[in-house]
Amino acid sequence: MPEQVYLCHVLIALFMTYALILTYKTLVERDMLKAIIYSAGQAVAYTLALTLLAAPDLVLAYVAVGVGMYTALFLFVLSRTERFEAVQGGEAT
């Protein structure tokens, strides 16, 4: 069925576009809490890309690590440090 093949590849391209835009938002974000949740959304997009690439065992490992453990780890670091990033190029406070 050529339609299913094209659907699969087009959807991989769509989810990689999601991941690219969320990576850019993570890069330019100054509030680190928002940056952490943007990276969790990027992990959801990667999960769907792995499902469409026919790797279900990687999905089982990557959802637990990417959506759950990275978010918990970064929130643990964030709750013991400061929330906002200093202005780029300006005087560090």
Binding site: L14, Y38, A40, G41, L60, V67, A72, L78, S79
Partner: protein, 96 residues
């Protein structure tokens, strides 16, 4: 009254799947446009729930049961991410 053939079934499933992909595009626009932290978490959650439905519909179309086991951990870990962020928002710390 019987079940229609495979071509009609695949067309109907494809229609449903493309509706969910369209909804995921709108949810993604909400993720990008959101200003505050609770909006962002809510949008990522609903995006994950929506894409879990997409995973199972895709596995029925591919006739492969192995592709469908990604839906359950996606839903459960999205819920745990909710709880982490709400704990951090309400008490400024994780744990306890």
């Amino acid at each position: 009254m019987g079940i229609p053939g495979e071509a009609v079934t695949v067309k109907l499933l494809l229609t449903g799947t493309l509706l969910f992909v369209l909804a995921s595009v709108f949810y993604f626009i909400r993720v990008v446009r959101s200003r505050t932290v609770p909006d962002l978490v809510l949008a990522v959650d609903v995006l994950a729930y929506d894409l879990a439905v997409f995973i199972i519909a895709f596995s029925i179309m591919c006739k492969s049961p192995y592709l469908s086991i990604g839906a359950l951990p996606l839903v459960l870990w999205a819920y745990l991410m909710d709880m982490y962020v709400s704990k951090h928002l309400s008490r400024r710390e994780l744990g306890d």
